[in-house]
Symmetry: D3
Subunit: 178 residues, 6 copies
Amino acid sequence: MRGLLIGRYQPFHRGHLGTVRAIRASAPDAELVIAIGSAEESYTFENPFTASERFEMVVRAVRAAGLDGIVPVPVPDIRRHALWVRYLEGLLPPFEVVHTNNPLTRLLFEKAGYRVESPPLIDRARLEGRKIRTLLATGGAWSARVPPVVAAYLKEVDAPGRLALLRRPSATGPRPRP
Amino acid sequence: MRGLLIGRYQPFHRGHLGTVRAIRASAPDAELVIAIGSAEESYTFENPFTASERFEMVVRAVRAAGLDGIVPVPVPDIRRHALWVRYLEGLLPPFEVVHTNNPLTRLLFEKAGYRVESPPLIDRARLEGRKIRTLLATGGAWSARVPPVVAAYLKEVDAPGRLALLRRPSATGPRPRP
Amino acid sequence: MRGLLIGRYQPFHRGHLGTVRAIRASAPDAELVIAIGSAEESYTFENPFTASERFEMVVRAVRAAGLDGIVPVPVPDIRRHALWVRYLEGLLPPFEVVHTNNPLTRLLFEKAGYRVESPPLIDRARLEGRKIRTLLATGGAWSARVPPVVAAYLKEVDAPGRLALLRRPSATGPRPRP
Amino acid sequence: MRGLLIGRYQPFHRGHLGTVRAIRASAPDAELVIAIGSAEESYTFENPFTASERFEMVVRAVRAAGLDGIVPVPVPDIRRHALWVRYLEGLLPPFEVVHTNNPLTRLLFEKAGYRVESPPLIDRARLEGRKIRTLLATGGAWSARVPPVVAAYLKEVDAPGRLALLRRPSATGPRPRP
Amino acid sequence: MRGLLIGRYQPFHRGHLGTVRAIRASAPDAELVIAIGSAEESYTFENPFTASERFEMVVRAVRAAGLDGIVPVPVPDIRRHALWVRYLEGLLPPFEVVHTNNPLTRLLFEKAGYRVESPPLIDRARLEGRKIRTLLATGGAWSARVPPVVAAYLKEVDAPGRLALLRRPSATGPRPRP
Amino acid sequence: MRGLLIGRYQPFHRGHLGTVRAIRASAPDAELVIAIGSAEESYTFENPFTASERFEMVVRAVRAAGLDGIVPVPVPDIRRHALWVRYLEGLLPPFEVVHTNNPLTRLLFEKAGYRVESPPLIDRARLEGRKIRTLLATGGAWSARVPPVVAAYLKEVDAPGRLALLRRPSATGPRPRP
């Protein structure tokens, strides 16, 4: 028996960790697949961290929290909504329950016959990826919003410098697009 | 002899039907290829319906209107403007005339040597895809703006519910991208 | 109610036409979608004709045969077998029955819950695409193996010359790959 | 500290398991990332099983063998050899050692500065994916060549039937390509 | 010894030419590769000119300016930032120095071990692609902002007409997307 | 006025150089664009060298031969034959004549209205890419078949070692696919 939680985890913050903890507590016998979406993206303001870096954040955070039964899997976007569920079914280890608060995700998985549950959202006003990225970019107080091991990791890869740069990538000179 | 009309038909509304009727009336001996563009898109606010659903709308609408000589063809985007005409030439049955009011479409087909004609636009102030999608999403009076059989079909697939959801896909919680 | 028949139709030969006629005769009230597969391919020995040319062959052949209720649709390959059925469902007008003698096609559609039927194969020893392409390439007696209107069309586009060339594309000199 | 082992695991056999066991025994403090390559492939003779099925085989086999510290990750092909190492670095959790007997894999990772080691190959004459797939397809004695839990799983998904079919996909009738 | 300058050159203006001249003057023994980015784009307001047209502008401008040692190379986007440097290394002739004022470009090349230099920016307030495109679209005074041979070329391909059209592509009627 | 010569140049050998010299001699006022095809390929037996390496071979060889007016351009495959000419027109600097001995290349460019000429083939029995790659892989006498500067470059990048390895990439152990 496995559950599925999908996100981009840019970065993996305390809201994510709280959700994971709640899901694991409510279903201790079910592994939880954490799909790391938009895995091909990195070095943009919306998706600053590579899938590799996000995988590492997830691993460190769940280990520090003493959570087991977590299976992180990077998932490149398919960008075709009608194929998304089928695509995930072919890529991820088999799962039976989907945990989401996103209405489109709910709609697509329910159409495909899945049981969909709404996990608790933890302090959403403060724990939201875009807000934390903005704090990282502007020298704000971001570190208490992510687990301590993630805060340490973000310093290790100079996330504040990267985000500051990505927020205004085109300040001067020609703007090539990778 | 065939003509070509290109659109996304999200949804196929009374303006589209009026244009098709006018083209067929002006050239009763020419079949009309209706290219259903952005065929790979669905379940977004800009492109809520699959190509399959849009194909069905076209078929039902032209049949109810007693129009014959219509050839609907779904066309995935190629996203390279300089290749677009050549791409359509390789995919669609041969055509000689292009019906469009879009200046870029006109430019690209004229460069390639095609005859381009401007079909009548029917009540554009009311009959515009984005407006109809907004009415669908917000409980507005959309149904008179599409042919009756399309209105019935849109209810059948719960288009109002889908559009309401797609207009605010990220209300709460993590926002995975398919 | 619609049926689905999938092929590449390189070229559309008398075996294809016989199969289409048999399906239409057995289910006169059901439209038949003819999916023209590998639509992005052309100018190779396996796939010498563009989807546009194949679409035209189908149209001319079914019209000459007095068959109605035929809906040809070009379909680019998705190249991911596990997504194929779902991809076709999103692209083609809705269908309920699949006609195929190919065991993989049968397996994938049956897994997805479709009714699958085996249409008659007409004189398969002679009416097989690769054999007809080889006859075209080598000056053999190909024309009786396709419907007369297709034979005329193949001469119109100089299919014998094209196939002769494609059979040995690399006779001399550097071999660029498109 | 992590090691990396890359394969397609079509299916995951006793040779793979022996290699994994040897790597884990030689470096008990290092996690081992098992990259499941060609993750987008399935339902062909070369790649009959989806990444999802192969992920499940790996999980069941290592659990039954009492091995821990294993991190399976599905990896779609990038098909550009010069980018492959960089692509894996962006997708997988960070790794420092690569275990491979494939000379091209060795060359590409050594060029990128990695330490590359040659794990033991277990009874390669018998334990080779293609041979086992052929045995599956032809009713041969395949089951002793995979771990017992994998043998059970392969029966569960009717691998013998699937392989028999994939070995001759085009026995009769038109051959559409997904 | 070669240097690399990356841009989109939509169009190639006097600021670009001044930068190229300064780089060549500071390193007369080093060839300069001019990577023409987003080479697959054309006929949009952001990227109105094909790579072919931009290649021609560069050639004419540097020849008229008496500059030698220039190697223009069109480069399609890879759209995966983490792979960009490696992708360019596989496509372009070998280079050792990168000239850029873009902070993301600097970051990615420095991470990969390159020497990165900041070329002078010439009159950036006036010589900026988007401003010149807007002047072209609106009948403004654009021609003194590009080298005279580029001005002549832009008239030759009716750049003012193209830009006017691309600035408002969707004025009327259905909006197909290529 | 420009001519176009398309090849893969795996490697750039004395036959290629002789052809280039003959084209330049016959049209001294026309630049010659050398399109380096399959630019995305490398590290396979068919395409062992990156576009970067092939670009460098061309540059060194034509410089050593005292040839000017050569414009090398790497070109990724588009893999859709019907779009190939149009794709090249959008990517390469404008050209008016195509030099080729390949019948498919001739057909596609003639259909698009180009003048196509057949350059001399130099000692094709000995100077053929595949033969030279085989000699490189097997320790044969390859070096006299390429220009001396190319021979030196091939030694510099250990082409013999690379080819030997690529000829038998799957000698032992699992065979991941990049």
